[in-house]
Symmetry: D2
Subunit: 311 residues, 4 copies
């Protein structure tokens, strides 16, 4: 049986097949050959490899966190009045289904239309409060204050017209609540939150353990919400390759165009890691669909090697 | 042969089958039984019937005028780089084809996506200048200053999220030029320009006579632009009933949800009217597609009676 | 003023920009540099140029003839229960709108879905009778028996799966009447009918003269049906370039991928031709949309030169 | 903790909320209040409740079996050249995505377009052989000969035009292999295969145990294929409610409009059942989406009660 280190190396070698996201200068300037991995188990044992000190922005990974927080604060029933939980074969930024579907309800919270809607449901009197609440929630999970990458945030706001179009469409259908520009501002701040693989893997561990941090025994969200979130990650978490990832890797995961991937797993002895496991990878070279090339490869290889698939 | 008066009466009787547009209070409050008609020929002879003193807003009829003005000022070739001239079976406010078409170029200037794009191409340093230029152009054609219905304008700005969504989509595809909110502001002011059937029929007369007012001999736009505008009116001017209107009426026409219709015709002796003829009707009770019930009926009846169809 | 001969030559020179249709060997083997033109006026005066002896198959031009014949035999009202008359921006062989439209009624008779439906409405006990009736109708118009190109017919039947898919979709929506394979057989025979530019221009003349052959004074179809057919040709007759053709040429026309175009016009003195005029061109080099490059150019040039546009 | 018997009763009470499938008389005539359940564990322990002697046709459940068999015989790589494994929000019988997707490859084998393609890939010289091979494969799994409901098969063949349309579309895109009518014939025979909940649960047990029958230790398909099949069941197995079922039930499952559902689970002690478990339910009253009302309710209730969700 090959070691995790071996798979990290093998996967990093494939990074040359991808490219950094080009629509934002700050993302494009990342070193495409970077690759960092963190696994953490329920006893707090960690496996770390690569440039683990590098911070990267959550981008679409934030969709999982805002969804969980909105459900925890506003109840799952309330949130599901505004967003469905069905996968769709369309692009993450597609607007077509909003026109073709009765009421224009977004299909799921993992596409932009759904995530922008979720953002509009967050508790808080104004954009600052809404964002602060979310940061507090996330900060408690990772055990340190959350901060955003100002440069990325400002770039995203500037290139936001497609998302603005989606948001106004949702507003015209009475799906999006509140002021569009405020909602988008909070949305882009989520996307620009900086994490390391260590922080992200801790969130994965909490998800893996049904909402409770197994190291501190603190509960952050209900088991029910955890299950819904993991189901959404599996069915819709990897953009238009979600089906292939479910089929050939089989781990509930969510990726972002910055090159990060959040995953959850469980194993009896994964090179010493035991029980519930949170996984985070970061490799900024992404494939045309938007997923980290090295990250996908690593998760695929260890899923096969250690039989991690939930199927 | 029945008289025009007879057809006015017969058509007005059908107005009960329609309803006033409900999305704006100012439109909804119009008297649905109203009906006014004006025909004017190249010698200045007029036929007037009904409540001809009533003003109504142009709404989508403005799309023809802004298209003509943009082409006249910026050249047809320039304008056609941003908007195509193909009919589409989609709704006037559909966004789907922008996603499904390469480059996201709107199919024609008679749907909202196309008309908003046209508005963004108008000459002028800012929104005031852009709108003023257009008003000057139109004011010269109708021989009096142009003014807008402030209440309608403000209502439209407030309920504009679907159009805002379209505009930001166009912006994200680099089709719409300039600032979205400024463009939308000018667009909604166009829509809120007030006219009477007399003013509107005069514009029809100029269109009928290839861009020259036959009474004053003043040219307002080129013959080529006139032909393009009339072709667009015929193929795309009556919302999703454009094909049926072309087939069964056969007059280049453009309607608005306020209940107005602008048409052009030609005849040797239409109850005394001769040669090039401009026609305007106003009946605020519209059908589900958005066309004035009485207006459609009147144009259909006189087209058959006087063999006015261009086919 | 340049002569018609000059425009024929100029247009033929452009044929190199197109290519013969490649999906059927018999069409692909045509000489792409060929170009033939016939104009005939209401007094029987003809203008002929190019390889006028060459026969070519009607392909989509047959859609006009079968529509007219179905309306004449079954009434316009009956036919319009099964097919609408609205233009669409979709491809001629698109199936999407059948799924997205209530009842799945084809948008117009000039796209394959509409033309296949029309074929199913033709009178006759079986495929032989249906086709024979149509041939008789057309044969009387052109004054000689109609025959098909057997090789083309057999090729089309073999490569017919897309049309078969459309036909079964229509059948499942209860739009197409009768047996699918019989209907398709008659449909492909229509498409494979051979004509010369002289025969085709004669049909154009009859259309131009509202259903009556002005030379023999024989009526073939009603004025109403003639108007509907010409409106459809203008709004939907030139595939996805119908809008551009209406705008820049402005003659009701129908083209086929074999390279033929049928047009109608009217003029006081078009190089000696007077009054109602039928036009046919044949140039097998087609553009990517499916229209004859030389044919389009010729019609555009003479439309501008002689001011033939109906707008 | 409530008993399985209790949940069977509770779920059966809800059957009144559904209706039997109406498009085929033989399905419509089923007793809508019927409900049968079978669970079988890896030691051969069974739980049986309700009308377990009733046979019902597989309908869409056959899609799982034909997919597995095609992969086992032709290799997974080969099959995935023709069908993707991505979920889609479209209806099971939608044709739109075949037009909108490059190459027209069906999105997954659980929609009709994908399943018809899979059928065309089955080994065998002709339709009889193809079907016989599949029956042999399935017969070995359930330990008795497979037979079809002739009445259902004949009804489906008669009302097959929508599927015929899909098949010819696939053929025109060179996705479907072989003769369309033969493929459809085999496809409809699959759909008409009769099973009882006992037979179906046995197949579920084999799937649950990665392709090996744990009672006989016979391997029927590879672990890899088993994982792919279960991933497809989870992401696409319950029609347009697949996402909601994954979220709130979380068991890889496939349903058919006859009212059957095939599921897989695992538990330490589910009322005496231990380890890998196969589940089958049959309740012919279906919801508008096509899933058995009682079946969905039963699986949801026991998933919550026994914490069966894979998430």
């Amino acid at each position: 049986m090959a070691s995790l280190e071996y798979y990290v190396q093998e996967s990093q070698n494939l990074a040359v097949l991808g490219e950094t996201a080009s629509y934002i200068p700050a993302l494009d300037e990342q070193d495409p050959s970077q690759f960092a991995v963190c696994l953490i188990d329920e006893n707090g044992n960690q496996f770390l490899a690569g440039d683990t000190s590098t911070s990267f922005t959550l981008q679409s990974i934030s969709k999982v966190i805002s969804f969980i927080y909105a459900c925890e604060e506003m109840t799952l029933d309330y949130v599901l009045q505004y967003v469905d939980v069905e996968p769709t074969g369309d692009s993450f930024n597609s607007i077509i289904r909003l026109e073709n579907t009765e009421f224009g309800k977004p299909f799921n919270p993992m596409i932009n239309a759904g995530a922008i809607t979720i953002t509009s449901l967050l508790p808080g009197q104004n954009r600052e409060e809404k964002f602060q609440h979310l940061c507090d929630f996330m900060g408690k999970m990772i055990g340190k204050p959350v901060k955003i990458n100002q440069e990325v945030y400002e770039s995203e706001i500037k290139t936001a017209d497609r998302n603005r179009s989606i948001a106004y469409y949702l507003k015209s259908n009475h799906i999006l609540q509140g002021d569009v520009e405020s909602v988008l501002d909070v949305y882009f701040r989520h996307c620009a939150i900086e994490v390391t693989v260590e922080s992200l893997a801790r969130i994965g561990l909490i998800l893996s353990n049904d909402g409770v941090d197994p190291i501190t025994n603190e509960r952050f969200f209900s088991k029910e919400i955890s299950k819904v979130a993991k189901a959404l990650m599996l069915t819709c978490g990897m953009y238009n390759a979600s089906g292939k990832f479910a089929t050939f890797v089989g781990l509930p995961s969510k990726s972002g165009v910055s090159g990060g991937i959040l995953s959850v797993a469980e194993h009896e002895d994964l090179q010493g890691l035991q029980g519930k496991i949170g996984i985070a990878t970061f490799g900024p070279a992404i494939d045309p669909i938007g997923n980290s090339v090295a990250g996908i490869e690593f998760l695929k290889r260890i899923s096969i090697e250690y039989d991690l698939s939930i199927f």
